[in-house]
């Protein structure tokens, strides 16, 4: 359904995302994980046609045989919110503070040609399904969790075939996060779920892509990747996510995500297994469970 081939995102000649390829089938929920600066949000924004000025994407991305990349703004506008839509991290900045939430949900439908009365009716229904029974409220009158559920209603209003979620629960309390994740699983058609939280991705997705330095370094069925990671970065990330008993040292990945990644394997300057071989680019290889590492974990 969604097919991304060799997606590369550049700004000022610097490659921020490099040759990313993946697909999502109808009904599938795929996680895109990585730390800040790994390129996961840029990957999502290029699919939405929302890259900032001066940042451009090459490669190809098609959703139900409609191209998403390299098409005129006008056409992308027709697709955005209808075929593919997105839920962002911070609902307060994404919602219009001066408009009642019910009107904001119906607006996205009338923009795509749904008659006003029908849009209003469907907006009420959608808000009911996400559990916000206050269509006449303004965003500031709602809690963070309610606002994020309004965002979900807006994103789903035109029955898109793909929902992109970019850290949709990072700003929420854990009890509220749980409700939101359950709603996404229940209502979304197919999901690209971006997060830095491995436990969150494990509770939503069946397949996962691990990004580091703008590249997909490992991908495959979630359970397989998380229990038998091959790339040294994935291994380190999983180890660092587990909290060991009090009084013990936590496993760490040395250093921090750099602003400029080294050539060859982007992880080699933080990797304990790096060798001269890592100066050349490892390819993402493997059927099903793939990884790009010269010295994979056994």
């Amino acid at each position: 359904m969604l097919s991304v081939e060799a997606l590369t995102v550049r700004a000022d000649g610097v490659e921020l995302v490099r040759e990313v390829s993946f697909g999502i089938a109808p009904g599938e929920r795929v996680g895109l994980i990585g730390e800040s600066g790994s390129g996961k949000s840029l990957t999502a924004l290029s699919l939405m046609g929302l890259l900032p000025e001066g940042v451009s994407a090459t490669g190809s991305a098609t959703l139900q045989d409609q191209p998403l990349l390299g098409v005129p703004d006008k056409r992308v506008k027709g697709l955005r919110g209808r075929v593919v839509s997105m839920v962002f991290q911070e609902p307060m900045t994404a919602l219009n503070p001066t408009m009642r939430v019910g009107a904001q949900v119906s607006e996205v439908m009338t923009l795509h040609g749904v008659p006003r009365a029908e849009a209003r009716e469907r907006a009420l229904d959608l808000l009911g399904r996400v559990g916000v029974e206050a269509p006449r409220a303004y965003p500031h009158q709602l809690s963070g969790g309610q606002r994020q559920r309004v965002m979900l209603a807006i994103a789903l209003a035109n029955e898109p075939s793909l929902l992109i979620c970019d850290e949709p629960t990072t700003a929420l309390d854990v009890t509220v996060q749980k409700q939101m994740l359950e709603l996404i699983v229940e209502l979304a058609p197919a999901v690209l779920f971006i997060t830095h939280d491995l436990a969150v991705v494990a509770s939503v997705c069946s397949r996962v892509l691990v990004m580091y330095g703008g590249r997909v370094v490992e991908s495959g069925p979630l359970r397989e990747v998380f229990t038998n990671p091959r790339h040294r970065y994935t291994e380190g990330l999983l180890a660092a996510s587990k909290l060991t008993p009090r009084g013990t040292r936590l496993p760490i990945i040395p250093g921090a995500v750099p602003s400029r990644f080294p050539s060859g394997c982007p992880f080699r300057d933080r990797c304990a297994h790096a060798s001269p071989a890592c100066e050349s680019d490892p390819a993402l290889t493997g059927e099903g469970h793939a990884y790009a590492c010269w010295h994979p974990r056994d």
């Binding site: 800040s36 309390d173 494990a202 060991t244 009090r246 760490i252």
Partner: protein, 261 residues
């Protein structure tokens, strides 16, 4: 495990804090009768979600706000109602590390001046203390000449920790110190905090929304919900045998890799 000996370092008694109604907002009872003792050398966690009152409690314990009623004693000395001048001893003995090192570090100040600021404010000599503190938190001495934006999130949190240690405090208060950090860096900061608490014999008050992080760091915990402490005890007991409904809800809501794979 250090046992609280003698008087607790911090004693809070029946704290309430009511934010008065304004034209735009109804009044809120942010804290409703909270009492707790934090012993010397103890690692004490405060867990709660937004609106639980944990930030309000923290501000009162640190002498940054006055309770509507109740009292806070620091090493036996009443701190509620004292003026800033009389609170100088507290500014010496208790230091805070905040969640977001980007907003808690002045972007226009060099790291040298940021780390030295508590000493300067207290009129103490700086000497080579800055270099010594930077080394202690794992930063090169050359970091002193640079500005906060030139560092990563984890390094900025190290700078904030160096600043907090400058006046040789007895109590370190950490308010969600790793919530804004990447997973790969979180462990570095938690390990560093554990080391510093050991070498300096600090008492730690650690505030978090995440009981699993608190369990790694602290031996005791208070769980807050809607302005009251609903449960407190040794963190291992609270973790494995939660008594209050809210604690159970909180524990079940946190997704864990171990539980999902």
């Amino acid at each position: 495990m250090p046992t609280p000996a003698g008087t607790p370092v911090i004693e809070a008694r029946d704290l309430t804090r009511v934010y008065r109604a304004s034209r735009f907002k109804p009044g809120v009872e942010a804290l409703r009768g909270v009492s707790l003792d934090i012993g010397r050398g103890e690692r004490f966690g405060i867990v709660g979600e937004s609106g639980s009152g944990k930030s309000t409690l923290l501000r009162l314990l640190c002498g940054l706000d006055r309770p509507t009623s109740g009292s806070v004693r620091f090493e036996g000395r009443e701190i509620t109602g004292l003026g800033e001048r009389q609170l100088r001893f507290l500014r010496d003995d208790l230091q805070i590390v905040f969640q977001d090192p980007m907003s808690s570090l002045d972007p226009r100040m060099r790291v040298r001046d940021i780390v030295a600021e508590p000493l300067v404010a207290l009129g103490r000599p700086v000497g080579d203390r800055v270099a010594q503190l930077l080394t202690e938190v794992g930063l090169p001495a050359s970091a002193a000449d640079r500005y906060p934006h030139q560092f990563s999130g984890g390094q900025r949190q190290r700078i904030a920790i160096a600043r907090a240690l400058a006046p040789n405090p007895k109590v370190l208060v950490a308010d969600e110190p790793v919530s804004a950090l990447d997973v790969s860096v979180r462990g570095q900061i938690l390990n560093l905090l554990a080391d510093l608490i050991d070498t300096h014999g600090l008492t730690l008050v650690f505030v978090s929304h995440d009981l699993s992080v608190v369990r790694h760091v602290c031996e005791s915990v208070a769980v807050m919900h809607r302005g009251v402490v609903v449960e407190r005890g040794l963190v291992d007991d609270v973790w494995s045998r939660p008594q209050h409904d809210y604690t159970r809800t909180l524990l079940q809501a946190v997704p864990t890799l171990e539980g999902l794979l």
